[in-house]
Symmetry: C4
Subunit: 264 residues, 4 copies
Amino acid sequence: MIPGGRRRVYELLELAAPGDHASRACDIFIITLICANVVALILDSVEAIHQAAPLAFTIFEGASVGIFTIEYILRVWSYVEDPRYSHPVRGRMRLVLSPIQLLDLLAILPYLLLLVGLDLRVLRVVRLLARAARLSRYFSGLRTLGNVIHAKRYELFMVTIVLGVLLVLASSLMYFAEREVQPEEYSSIPATMWWTIVTLTTVGYGDVFPVTSAGRLLAGVIAVLGIGIFALPAGILGSGFLEEVQQRQSEPKTCPHCGLEIAD
Amino acid sequence: MIPGGRRRVYELLELAAPGDHASRACDIFIITLICANVVALILDSVEAIHQAAPLAFTIFEGASVGIFTIEYILRVWSYVEDPRYSHPVRGRMRLVLSPIQLLDLLAILPYLLLLVGLDLRVLRVVRLLARAARLSRYFSGLRTLGNVIHAKRYELFMVTIVLGVLLVLASSLMYFAEREVQPEEYSSIPATMWWTIVTLTTVGYGDVFPVTSAGRLLAGVIAVLGIGIFALPAGILGSGFLEEVQQRQSEPKTCPHCGLEIAD
Amino acid sequence: MIPGGRRRVYELLELAAPGDHASRACDIFIITLICANVVALILDSVEAIHQAAPLAFTIFEGASVGIFTIEYILRVWSYVEDPRYSHPVRGRMRLVLSPIQLLDLLAILPYLLLLVGLDLRVLRVVRLLARAARLSRYFSGLRTLGNVIHAKRYELFMVTIVLGVLLVLASSLMYFAEREVQPEEYSSIPATMWWTIVTLTTVGYGDVFPVTSAGRLLAGVIAVLGIGIFALPAGILGSGFLEEVQQRQSEPKTCPHCGLEIAD
Amino acid sequence: MIPGGRRRVYELLELAAPGDHASRACDIFIITLICANVVALILDSVEAIHQAAPLAFTIFEGASVGIFTIEYILRVWSYVEDPRYSHPVRGRMRLVLSPIQLLDLLAILPYLLLLVGLDLRVLRVVRLLARAARLSRYFSGLRTLGNVIHAKRYELFMVTIVLGVLLVLASSLMYFAEREVQPEEYSSIPATMWWTIVTLTTVGYGDVFPVTSAGRLLAGVIAVLGIGIFALPAGILGSGFLEEVQQRQSEPKTCPHCGLEIAD
């Protein structure tokens, strides 16, 4: 194969350059195939649909994995055209070990293992995740969201810490308050954590709830603290989005008096 | 009919100009009639009220549709006075096909079809929607809200995408975690989606909830992520409202030194 | 009585001036009495406590109303010292008809009517409300909160409108989707509104929930819209609090070059 | 013992200075021991785990308390090296009575009392709290969160006041609306408060809910007000986080015209 052919394959697999219609068609085909696989996995779980056409899903899945395998091999072969992976051996190693490429491998490996006898059906979900992650490469808009979350990752991590401490503390106190009266539901601190998380997030299924006065008093305090658990990330992300907007707006200005640039 | 008469009809149907009391009375009459129709549809659904006066609602509905039909015809006839729709044929076509006018047609069509024998009772709700949409023309204040949501539509759309991916992923994982123990409630991935949406939005009816340890662990993570699903739009809209306010405030200023205008 | 005595009564009843210890003691006594009345009304509703000391509550209530009546009369008598109500007749009329004074009358009237034979027990709650409103006069800090809500009242009102339209629309659609299968729970549109409000606010008791596929799909959309119903006021109030802070910070500045004031 | 030895003990117990590896190891050992104690208390509550190794937990707990006691004594002995507590008697008194040191005492005292015959098992939870509080000293990042909450403590306190008034008022009204039909669930105002807090926080377990029309109307209003209860702290904290960020950014600037510093 000539290097020009390898270059073309690389261009087709990469995000399409403006005007490159063939590459764009290639992108759309892969997106559609990924989406169709997600839909197939969802529909296949419905008993009635699965029994109406049991073979159809198996064949579609096999064909998809075949295409994804070919895509994977072509990518490893052609990506030496990318300056980042230009070395034939070390470049390819780095590509294969990059997170997105490992996810792609995860998306085809379970099926390939199935062919050699290993049944890892639960891995279909992992494959689903791998597929979804692959799609994000086509949604540049998710980057704004990701930027804000990334800029505020430290504050959000601290909220998680606070949530964790609250979870342990509330569960321990609740366990001591309710275990006498409801030994089934509040059988241990880890079991009580189920109640705590359902209350702190204000989901409140109603499968477990306190019945003693002490427990209800405690639950009231915990539920009110749950409001804070909502308010903190809302406040953090709110300020994050605003900073993101302000950063985009703040370009260097020039003073109208002397024409020199003023740092904001 | 003289053109002056057509112009007057146009003025009466349009939002009233300041001081035009007749046109204002016309606006208020239409608003009241729309509200009364909404109230009638609600009350008519109550068995006791419906049986107390079954004819009253039918007569009121017929009369209202009659008035709305006359209004519709008058509008099509008179709106050539509006510069946007001035052409007798093409202007009227554009008016008839404009979204708000199509909604108006939807609001009278089901009843007219009923007269010729087609029973589309479910369309009464669509009519209700059409009526409500009509009212928004009188609430200029909704525009601020709409502006903010419109300015942030891209970020909000991204949140919907994230919600969608979470929905599919969480439902798939939960389905594999709980289907053995609760085959009724978690019968398929689409069925599990009901649980997921009820949990992610923190509604938590309690008709379906996980009972296995793995399922509860997973549900805890999903419920906590649900907090983020609330925090993201709250943060996005928060920054949106602030920008809206700042935009309104930022008028051109003059430099206190030399009296020249400074762009903000 | 000498005018000086009337002036002193006025000072005692008004919020204490700094250093006026007697007036301060008077304030604290009234606050304590109001709080004690609220606590008494709450405790009196507990059967066991009521039966342990049935007379105690009646006596305490009677004594409190007596004090409040004396306070009311003294206020009407002495407030002509206040420049706003200085006219003996017209000033007093204005005082008696002012909202806070009417609330005070509401707080004593039901008991006085009880003495002449009218039993308006449900008015005890109104009295509770009147009492609580009276306390707000001592909490100057609530004013910041009130300012922000007041500054954003228009946007918040618009959210209420949107909530109202959503409520009517969602209830109508849900009624048509579920009434066949659950004629008890979804018996009419007003009855369905109970389900809608419980879902839109994400409370989700679980006493009513959809069981049909169409109903669940619709409920999912409504629950997701419920997130927006939370996000809108959070965003509005967030920007309100920020503006409040910025307004307090923005005082006139002087230019360091020429000493002239610069409007921000 | 020589003063140099006491100084070294002080350095080991304090947060490690950069490069002091022995002190850092000491920090990590204490953190690990605290975490292990929390995990042990949680696991010990699980019946199966407790019975599998009943002695292991007792021994581990005893050993931990032993180490914490030694740490406590060493701290009291060596902290005279700290300038704040340099006085042998008064400095040590101040150290012993400082909040963090009292918490440390609380963490070991219950066990020591157990040795002399007093069984205060419920205090194990308090000990857990004391342990968790101790960890916060190692998480400097929690300070940002704490700063924002501290800066906005007044507004947040006002929200709590509003929540309290709403709680009392809603419970009283609901009690009068539902007590006839559901005398069990709405037996008194304090009992009704359980329903109110579950509704205002939008948890909604579904163990108690109104069934009368008046009660449901009232509950709808209360649930909608519950949205505000979420929106207020979210808005307050949102503006708080933004101010925190702006404060960190605002450093003194120099005027581009004359090079002099301008206060922002």
